[in-house]
Subunit: 310 residues, 2 copies
């Protein structure tokens, strides 16, 4: 039965996990986007308000990730009514925290909630992907952990090709977002078109080690495996100033690894206790403040549930 209004939250996500470029991701407890939907008699989606985007996101529902995802849900169930969305952006845009994925997933989940949950989570995947596709292309590496929660492996873009991995106990993250802009398109353009076969073997070895470590619940080994990427991060490092120094400071503060979150500029430090995450976040933020760049920081664990109705 349709409701008159509903609200959904979708979390920030860290894609890639270093060596797992385009296939691995995790959901972060804490930060995320919240969308409120109200039932309207007019079919289709309108965007009533967007808060927290500094006016940067399109208000046209056909060009907005959340609007596209919500409209896809309405269409999938042949809804006769429509909805008006109020979007609260809790995540900075183009930051490497899966901001567009969070809006797309929240849009799909809130639309489904408003209509009385006619669709399963697996069915919502496709509609959330449609929203994401409008911004960054048809990728599941942020959408999957945002929708399903935990740590996800996506070897395709259908629900049958996405699996949830166990979450190692004691895994704590520090996320530092320097105040610079890294466009996803540019971050993709700097990647090599080809890699040597030996490099491919090393990358598969690193990913295999990472999945093994995740199943073993071994945070230290997980962190070491994440840092074995020799393809993507080396190509992108120059887009993020002071990254080598940030890694050094993170490790001094107790972090076990530091990688680029998604396409950056957010840096994700892996820790095995909360204090180390806090100290790491402080130390790396201070580095960017001292450099006149500035940075936001977040600390958190992995969100097991994925996006949820509030």
């Amino acid at each position: 039965m349709p409701l008159s209004s509903a609200e959904a939250f979708a979390p920030a996500t860290v894609a890639n996990l270093g060596v797992g470029f385009d296939i691995l991701g995790l959901a972060v407890d804490g930060a995320g986007d919240t969308i409120r939907a109200e039932l309207t008699a007019t079919p289709g989606v309108v965007i009533r308000e967007i808060v927290g985007d500094h006016g940067k996101l399109p208000r046209d529902p056909l060009k907005n990730t959340a609007g596209i995802a919500a409209a896809a849900v309405l269409k999938a169930v042949n809804a006769s009514s429509g909805m008006a969305l109020t979007i609260h952006k809790g995540l900075p845009l183009a930051s490497g925290l899966g901001s567009s994925a969070a809006s797309a997933v929240a849009g799909a989940v809130v639309a489904n909630a408003l209509l009385g949950e006619p669709l399963t989570r697996d069915q919502l995947l496709e509609h959330a992907l449609e929203g994401e596709a409008a911004v960054t292309g048809y990728h599941a590496d942020n959408i999957a952990p945002c929708l399903y929660g935990g740590i996800t492996l996506s070897y395709g873009v259908t629900s049958g090709e996405i699996v949830r991995l166990p979450v190692p106990e004691g895994l704590h993250l520090a996320l530092i977002t320097p105040h610079i802009e890294v466009l996803t398109a540019k971050a993709r353009a700097v990647l090599p078109a080809n890699v040597p076969l030996k490099t491919m073997v090393a990358q598969t070895a690193g990913v295999a080690r990472l999945i093994h470590a995740i199943y073993q619940g071994d945070v230290a080994q997980m962190a070491a495996a994440m840092e074995t990427d020799t393809v993507v991060e080396p190509a992108r490092s120059h887009l993020i100033p002071h990254i080598a120094e940030a890694r050094r400071l993170a490790k001094e503060a107790g972090a076990l690894a530091l990688v680029i979150s998604g396409a950056g500029p957010t840096l994700c430090a892996v820790c095995d206790h909360a204090d180390a995450a806090l100290l790491t976040a402080q130390a790396v933020t201070a580095l960017y403040e001292d450099a006149g760049i500035g940075a936001d920081r977040r600390v958190g664990t992995v969100l097991a549930s994925g996006a949820y109705v509030i």
Copy 2:
């Protein structure tokens, strides 16, 4: 305390497991090489006899994988005595069943046994690798499962970079070795020097899915993941006649996947019960017999223990 004689068995191994080129391998229950060592007063290694190699292996202990591995063990412990080896080859040469690795591992293990087990299994790794290096280069993908048993992931060539993965229950293998020669050097030469980045991502996804399936104990998913290789097997398929037909027949007989074992020509079919493995081995062998090529067949499960002293 040194013994007057000792005997060791080292199993056949399947390297690569399809998509896990150069990093994954497993030990097979049943077939393998057996080496007997007798203590001699003269330092160093002599090879007394090799049975089952049709006279093809070098009798010079400095050029023989087992001789090199055994001599490396003698040297590592500064042994004042020597040993004479009698090598029973249970595995065909250059067949993709890890024949040289089995001899190297058996040589290291029997030498250690003869000397009263002064070295740990981790220490034997290095010496077995020295033996293998004489034939196929410094690779651990056959040595690791042969020495440690089970399914192994090698992300380097030291004991700290090799991990054992769980063995899914119900995993049965059919190994069919057509009577053709595929030299490892040639099988390596046909590989592409570079791969597109997209292909690397797909290969990492396939490996991640395979490790996940192994941990889930899901033989069907494991088999599906093994067959996702788009780099190595496509480049090598032309070296193994009738491979597409062999795969078709294997699946008709109940196999879930068929991949090239190591550098070939042995084909490894993955099954979830013993009957399917037997039927698959018969069907694929018949294919090669009908084609006038002929083939040997073996069926078995994964050997958990690795090489052992008899």
